[in-house]
């Protein structure tokens, strides 16, 4: 019996609390979100059904409804993060412009810089290898030869220009 009363009271308290909270929430003025506010978020999301189309420019009716949904959510005071979260939960990670940084998706961020750095390293090593023989045989003669060669080349070039 007592349990029942306690249960009823708690439900009542909950309803009253909910009522006042909703009044408090309703009193906070949330202006109608502008198209720009909606597009700002829609631009960061991708159409869940068409291939590679950002939500803000997608012309289909479905996307129009999704944009309206964002507007409603904004009107209800949702944050940008919450809205994005909602879309990810509903339609999966494909609605995000970039894969979330979890699991196998790390590969997309790590592999290109790794390959590029490896490439740079290989290039550096190759250059070292190629240039070494010249400096190893640093007989001053070869250096002079190189200079002379260059000098002759330039001289020839200039002579050619004079023709």
């Amino acid at each position: 019996m007592i349990m029942k009363i306690i249960f009823r009271i708690s439900i009542l308290t909950f309803i009253i609390a909910a009522f006042f909270t909703s009044i408090a929430l309703a009193q906070q003025p949330v202006p109608t979100p502008s198209d720009d506010q909606v597009n700002h978020i829609a631009h960061q999301l991708y159409c869940p059904v068409c291939a590679n189309t950002p939500l803000d420019v997608c012309p289909t009716d479905a996307c129009r409804q999704w944009r309206d949904l964002i507007r409603q959510q904004l009107a209800q005071g949702w944050t940008e993060q919450q809205i994005k979260q909602y879309f990810v939960q509903q339609y999966g990670a494909r609605v995000l412009a970039e894969p979330p940084e979890t699991g196998i998706n790390w590969l997309i961020y790590i592999l290109p810089p790794a390959i590029i750095l490896a490439g740079a390293f290989i290039l550096f090593r190759a250059l070292r290898m190629w240039t070494k023989p010249v400096s190893a045989s640093t007989a001053s003669g070869s250096n002079e030869d190189a200079l002379k060669d260059e000098y002759v080349a330039r001289l020839e070039e200039e002579l050619k220009n004079r023709k």
């Binding site: 502008s34 198209d35 720009d36 597009n39 991708y46 291939a51 590679n52 950002p54 420019v57 012309p59 999966g92 990670a93 494909r94 609605v95 995000l96 412009a97 970039e98 894969p99 979330p100 699991g103 196998i104 998706n105 590969l107 997309i108 592999l111 290109p112 390959i115 590029i116 490439g119 740079a120 290039l123 190759a126 250059l127 070292r128 190629w130 240039t131 023989p133 010249v134 190189a146 200079l147 260059e150 200039e158 220009n161 004079r162």
Partner: protein
């Protein structure tokens, strides 16, 4: 009847292509000139054959033979004749025929022109081009037949598979079936009816196909063991033409996207766009590094690898856009041609690389690199950067497929990923473009730098970097994240080093560029990223202009020509160099546009009643009226009239419109554009309500500086034409090559 003829001819062409491959290989192996000649003639027969088949297809397209499924899919009665003809490459099956037709044409040109001169290469060139042609013809014959019919059963209904898709085939799928004649076609996708889209695919394909020719010669060189730079000299012009067409294709595609897709930009990092960009990247790297091989006999192995990559990426690009693999892995699995493409790319790539490895020792460089900062090293750095952009693009395109395969999760790799990754790489390329043209002269000064000088320089530079990093708050705010801040500081560091190395040559341009950047800071923008970008652009422009000026002055002095004439003749003297410099200038103009739209684009959207207005960055757009009428191609046009003001100045009217194509149930948004050198005003009609006070919804973009992109593109065209213009003495052999050849001859005679 005509369709049967067209298909029959394609089948014959396929067989002939295979025959020419077989005959050429057999002829080469048995040293039988007759067999090789037979292969050549078979190859020459391909183009007329495919032309016949294509003519049949065009005939079917313009005479409304909708019983042919391809004709049904891409044309309809209301389409004008020129559109029906261009619908040839508007659909998958037709575009494969188009591909093979171009391939056959180019291969014929090669074998017709210089048959006697290049006799040792040409049999293998025939093998490679004919294999490629045969592959595309095979796709047409077995998987994507543009001549296939619709069929109806005994009851007169269209025969369809379990999913309701109509079955198409050349021959009756069941006994008693007869050809089904739809009364009208589906019509070409309205998005593809734009002039830009009519020219864009042929340009792209021309670019794709012309890259096969240098590849074919490279393979021929590998097989025959003639691994000097002869193959490069023969195909130099082909490579430039390929590059020209591919570049034109990319620019036209961008312009089309800007004018037709109505999202305010021209490049959305869509996989289809990237598919065309990837061969361009390796092609550009190749164009640069072959110069080193021609001049100094180095990088032979690397050039081979680059052209092999380019060929694979050309086929991969066609594969990406033609198989539906991009939309989902399932589409790929269902698509009949997907796996075939995959296997072909795999076999040709592995085969070519195996050949390259086999010849690896023969391809050693003839000379050594002089210094870590020599011209050759800088060209290699240029190659590394292009390949890095390629890695980012390739991985970005392929990753969603891999993710779906391994985790079942579909992900999108969109613009933020590419922009973050590619922007620093392009900045580095710009820096190189600024200093590399001077490196030939800069070399000597650098050699003299001793350890102490290095230490002082590097110490000062580190101090500058530390000072700069004190502004980390501003940097972090503007760049968004720490990685970019670090990359940015590193870029500044490297830039200072590079400028120091070449200080005696670039001090004037550097001061000039700094002054211009100062002006931009005072009057245009305070964004750190933009200022850095503008500095690099100004640097490259000034360095290149200085090069032109110096050479013109020298020539004018030496020849007593007046300045203008000397400038003109400069191009005649070394077309490749000065054409190349012009391309560098054009690239910088394009970079202004790219920087402008990426960093300064602003937009707003709003619904306004009639006679009310929206404002954005100084512009006021007033909604005057809206009208609906029928367009010339059966579309329903809704056109708004808006007047544009800047302050109180009336600038003119713009007409954003929505075209609705009832047969495809598709909308097309055509923006109203007002272009100036300063910015583009770009207005889209998003929505409108008839006879209501709600009025219409407009989306307005202001795209600063974007016009420079198109101006740069036109200059770019001139640059390539200058670089590719035939020399009077076209077969002129560079001194180095002559020297090598002489020694070779000597050796031969000694051996004899």
């Amino acid at each position: 009847m005509i369709a049967d003829f067209g298909y029959g001819v394609i089948v014959i062409a396929f067989v002939v292509a295979l025959y020419s491959v077989g005959a050429a290989i057999y002829g080469e192996r048995t040293k039988s000139a007759n067999w090789v000649e037979s292969a050549r003639r078979a190859m020459l027969l391909l183009w007329p054959l495919i032309s016949l088949s294509a003519a049949s297809l065009i005939y079917l397209l313009i005479t409304n033979h909708f019983e042919v499924s391809f004709v049904y899919e891409v044309t309809s009665r209301e389409m004008p004749t020129y559109l029906k003809i261009t619908a040839w490459w508007g659909g998958q099956a037709g575009s494969l025929v188009f591909w093979s037709w171009l391939m056959a044409a180019f291969a014929s040109l090669v074998t017709l022109r210089k048959w006697d001169r290049d006799r040792e290469f040409l049999p293998w060139v025939i093998v490679v081009t004919s294999i490629t042609t045969a592959f595309f013809l095979g796709l047409v014959v077995f998987y994507q037949n543009p001549f296939a019919f619709y069929w109806s059963g005994a009851n007169g209904n269209l025969i369809a598979d379990a999913l309701g898709n109509p079955i198409t085939s050349m021959f009756a799928p069941i006994a008693g079936a007869s050809i089904y004649f739809p009364s009208d076609g589906n019509g070409l996708n309205p998005l593809l009816r734009h002039p830009g889209m009519i020219i864009h695919p042929p340009m792209l394909y021309l670019g794709f196909v012309s890259f096969v020719i240098p590849f074919a010669f490279a393979i021929a060189a590998l097989i025959t063991g003639r691994t000097d730079d002869r193959w490069i000299r023969i195909t130099r012009r082909w490579t430039l033409f390929a590059w020209l067409f591919l570049s034109c294709g990319l620019v036209l595609g961008s312009r089309w996207a800007y004018d037709v897709l109505g999202w305010g930009g021209f490049w959305g990092w869509d996989p289809v766009e990237i598919a065309a960009l990837m061969p361009w990247l390796t092609g550009t790297a190749f164009l640069h590094s072959v110069m080193i091989q021609e001049k100094r006999g180095m990088l032979k192995q690397w050039n081979m690898l680059l052209i092999i990559l380019t060929y694979s990426l050309v086929i991969f690009g066609t594969f990406l856009t033609r198989t539906g693999v991009l939309s989902s892995v399932h589409a790929f699995a269902q698509s009949a041609i997907g796996p075939v493409f995959f296997v072909f790319i795999g076999i040709t790539f592995v085969g070519s690389v195996a050949l390259l490895i086999y010849r690896w020792p023969d391809l050693r460089g003839e000379t050594e690199m002089k210094s870590m900062l020599s011209r050759e090293a800088l060209f290699l750095l240029n190659n590394l950067l292009f390949i890095s952009v390629l890695v980012v693009c390739f991985w970005g395109v392929v990753f969603p497929i891999i993710s779906q395969l391994f985790t079942g999760q579909t992900v999108t790799v969109g613009p933020p990923f590419y922009q973050t990754a590619v922007a620093p790489l392009f900045a580095a390329l710009m820096l190189l473009m600024g200093v590399a043209p001077l490196s030939a002269w800069g070399l000597k000064e650098m050699k003299r730098m001793d350890l102490e000088e290095w230490a002082v320089l590097e110490g000062a530079n580190i101090a500058v970097t530390i000072l700069l990093s004190l502004t980390w708050k501003v940097l972090l705010e503007q760049l968004g994240n720490w990685t970019l801040v670090v990359i940015f500081l590193a870029m500044i560091h490297v830039s200072i080093l590079m400028l120091y190395f070449f200080k005696h040559l670039v001090w004037k341009p550097t001061i000039g560029a700094a002054a211009i950047t100062g002006l931009i800071y005072a009057f245009y923008t305070q964004s750190v990223l933009a200022l850095f970008g503008f500095f690099l652009i100004a640097l490259v422009l000034l360095v290149t202009i200085q090069e032109f000026w110096r050479a013109t002055r020298a020539r004018s002095k030496a020849t007593q020509e007046n300045f203008a004439l000397a400038f003109w003749n400069l191009f005649g003297r070394d077309r490749r160099r000065y054409g190349g410099y012009m391309i560098h200038i054009s690239m910088m103009l394009m970079a202004i546009g790219i920087l402008g739209i990426n960093l300064f684009q602003v937009q707003t959207q709003g619904t306004v009643p009639l006679n009310n207005s929206l404002s954005l960055s100084g512009y006021t757009v007033k909604y005057d009226s809206v009208a609906q009428f029928s367009g010339p191609n059966g579309q329903q046009v809704t056109r708004a009239v808006v007047s544009v003001y800047q302050g109180n100045n009336y600038l003119g009217d713009l007409y954003p419109r929505i075209d609705y194509y009832p047969s495809q149930e598709q909308n097309m948004t055509i923006p109203g554009e007002r272009s100036t050198l300063k910015d583009d005003l770009y207005i889209i009609l998003v929505d409108w309500q008839p006879a209501s006070t709600n009025g219409a919804t407009f989306k307005i973009f202001v795209n600063p500086l974007v016009n420079w992109l198109w101006i740069g593109a036109i200059l770019f065209l001139f640059g390539i034409i200058i670089a590719a213009w035939p020399d009077r003495d076209a077969e002129r052999v560079p001194e180095r090559a002559r020297r090598v050849h002489r020694t070779e001859n000597k050796q031969t005679s000694a051996a004899d």
